[in-house]
């Protein structure tokens, strides 16, 4: 899945996903323009386009930020997460077009075509800052410097901050960067999306809302903020409950801690337990029990919510696979996660509190044959 860095490893799911995403955006942009024209025939359309792209990016950001918590709450949403990065990069481009516009007809090869491509959108930077006595970029930062005042705060700068973060995320969105920056750094960088979201809520609140003062606009943006906050809190609470120490179990002996019964775990599935502060996925398969780190090397997906398929533990997020007895991806893939020694005593499962280095051969614990049928 990850060895050869192709620009995009297309498959049917990704193609359908992207087509639906692009169709949704095209419908939104078309309807936005059409609906505006229904109100007044002599609108200034460049400003309408700036708003159409900006609002499309802002709405899509809410969708993107909802996917993670929704998947924590209901696994049926996982297909949305599968290709979330394409959604993120698309959202960045919508924001970029809102800011600097888009002009296909000025591309060097396209202007040689026998027909003209009409698609041209003017960005806010040019529409508001150009044609004057300052360079647009200089005007952008020099026009308003009242950073000490909330009411006069330069909302454009908040947009620039949001867009800069989204730019960093978009250019590092490929698995090449995920592997080379390492998952924790990559994940940290991409968690900056929340900083971008905060900046963009400020951009909208101190820009569009402050200017227009339309109650419905305020209500919709406010509800969006509440929605994002509440689903993240609910998902975090659910996650936290899963991290509670295991009750009614024997205390740790010889660095092994009891994590429950073989009957607790469905076949080919796992139980996620917190051992010495680390989440461990304890899988039951083929009459055996193995334990590996719960954290997928790809994007830190929850391996314990995955499934044992074709001899491998398979991550629910993007299908990355690991052999249960080594924590290593099957060749030629190179990812590996820490493993944990496991013992089965009667029906009870004991997991070592000390992780083995990633890729260490760690024998699975066998379920006693007399219990296997019941388990």
């Amino acid at each position: 899945m990850s060895v050869a860095y192709k620009s995009i490893q297309w498959n049917r799911t990704k193609i359908i996903y992207d087509l639906l995403l692009l169709a949704a955006i095209a419908i939104y942009l078309f309807l936005f323009t059409w609906s505006a024209q229904q109100i007044s025939p002599d609108l200034e359309m460049l400003g309408i386009q700036i708003r159409a792209f900006g609002s499309a990016a802002f709405i899509l950001l809410h969708v993107i930020l909802s996917i993670g918590p929704l998947c924590r709450l209901n696994r049926k949403f996982l297909p949305l997460l599968y290709n979330r990065r394409h959604m993120g990069v698309t959202m960045f481009f919508l924001g970029l077009i809102h800011a600097i516009g888009f002009n296909l007809s000025s591309l060097p090869l396209l202007d040689k075509l026998p027909f003209k491509i009409p698609f041209k959108v003017t960005g806010a930077l040019y529409w508001y800052h150009d044609f004057g006595d300052l360079d647009p970029i200089v005007s952008q930062f020099a026009g308003n410097t009242h950073y000490g005042s909330l009411v006069r705060f330069p909302f454009e700068t908040l947009g620039v901050i949001g867009l800069a973060i989204l730019f960093l995320m978009a250019i590092t969105s490929h698995d090449f960067w995920l592997a080379n920056l390492t998952a924790p750094i990559w994940k940290g960088l991409h968690m900056m999306v929340y900083v971008a979201y905060a900046a963009l809520v400020g951009h909208v609140a101190l820009g569009a809302i402050q200017t227009n003062r339309h109650p419905l606009l305020t209500v919709v943006v406010g509800l969006g903020l509440i929605w994002i906050t509440v689903i993240h809190l609910i998902a975090a609470l659910k996650e936290r409950r899963g991290d509670q120490p295991i009750r009614n179990t024997a205390p740790a002996t010889d660095n092994f801690v009891e994590i429950g019964s073989i009957y607790d775990i469905p076949n080919t599935r796992a139980k996620i337990v917190s051992v010495a502060g680390e989440r461990v996925a304890v899988f039951k398969y083929d009459g055996k029990v193995s334990a590996i780190s719960n954290v997928c090397q790809h994007q830190n997906g929850p391996l314990g919510e995955g499934k044992f398929i074709d001899g491998c533990i398979t991550c629910p997020w993007h299908g990355y696979q690991y052999l249960p007895e080594t924590g290593a991806s099957p060749p030629p893939f190179v990812e590996s996660v820490p493993t944990f020694n496991v013992q089965v005593r009667g029906d009870r499962i004991f997991v070592s509190t000390i992780p083995n280095p990633p890729g260490t051969q760690t024998p699975a614990a066998h379920i006693p044959p007399e219990l296997e049928g019941q388990a």
């Binding site: 939104y28 308003n144 499934k307 074709d310």
Partner: protein, 263 residues
Amino acid sequence: MTSDPMNNPNPQSPKQQEDEFFSGYSRWPKSIKSFFFKFIPLLFVGVVLFGVIVPRVHDQFNAGKFSRGEFQGLLVGEPVPHLLVPRKGKIESGSQFSRYLLSGFSKSAPPAKVTDHIGKWVQLKGTAVHRNNLTVVATGGAEPIDAPAGAPSAPEPGIPLGKFSLNGEILDGKCYPGVMKPGQGKTHRACAIRCISGGVPAVFRSHNEQGDPLYFLLADNEGKAVNKQVLDLVADPIQIEGEVTQYGDLFVIKADPSSYQRV
């Protein structure tokens, strides 16, 4: 492995559904597929609703309109260049002139090809942008002409109306009438600053007790344009206390720009 719902018409038990597993490169499990057959249409309903409603919660509509034309009138320089166009027909009351502010194309003052003729009767081509009784003509040059027969020989003198304290917003005289919609408020501030800095007339919009908009040209105590001095207050709610003079249907408020107060 996951089951393929297309080849497996047998209904699944809840336990089977629970064991289904999605991976992007395999066929979709039946329960997830049926979930998305309901969820995706719902998403598209959301897209349609947002697409239709969002543009309507933006206050971006005003009655400002464009019209191209040729104008003949007396060119006046202060406080900002504007054209006095004799009104046609029988004028029983009010001013004999319509007063059109002048700007260059883009965010600029009218060029020297226009301002060289201040004090003369001229003919100019341009784009008029008008909203309520505020009109600006963007033009690139003017030709001197003889005063038309029967035209008033000079503009009527200003009528001092006294000292007033007015609340309102400084706008640029070009975007606000209709080049941009809306051409006012904070989102438009940067653009208005560039316009006024470039020489487009600065207009103060206040309102009467009925809420109808009133427009005032800004001038300092000597009656000169204040463009460069007011840039930092553009689009902010402010209060100006000054002497108001009426020239026909045009009002000018004279005050030292350093006395303008944010409110």
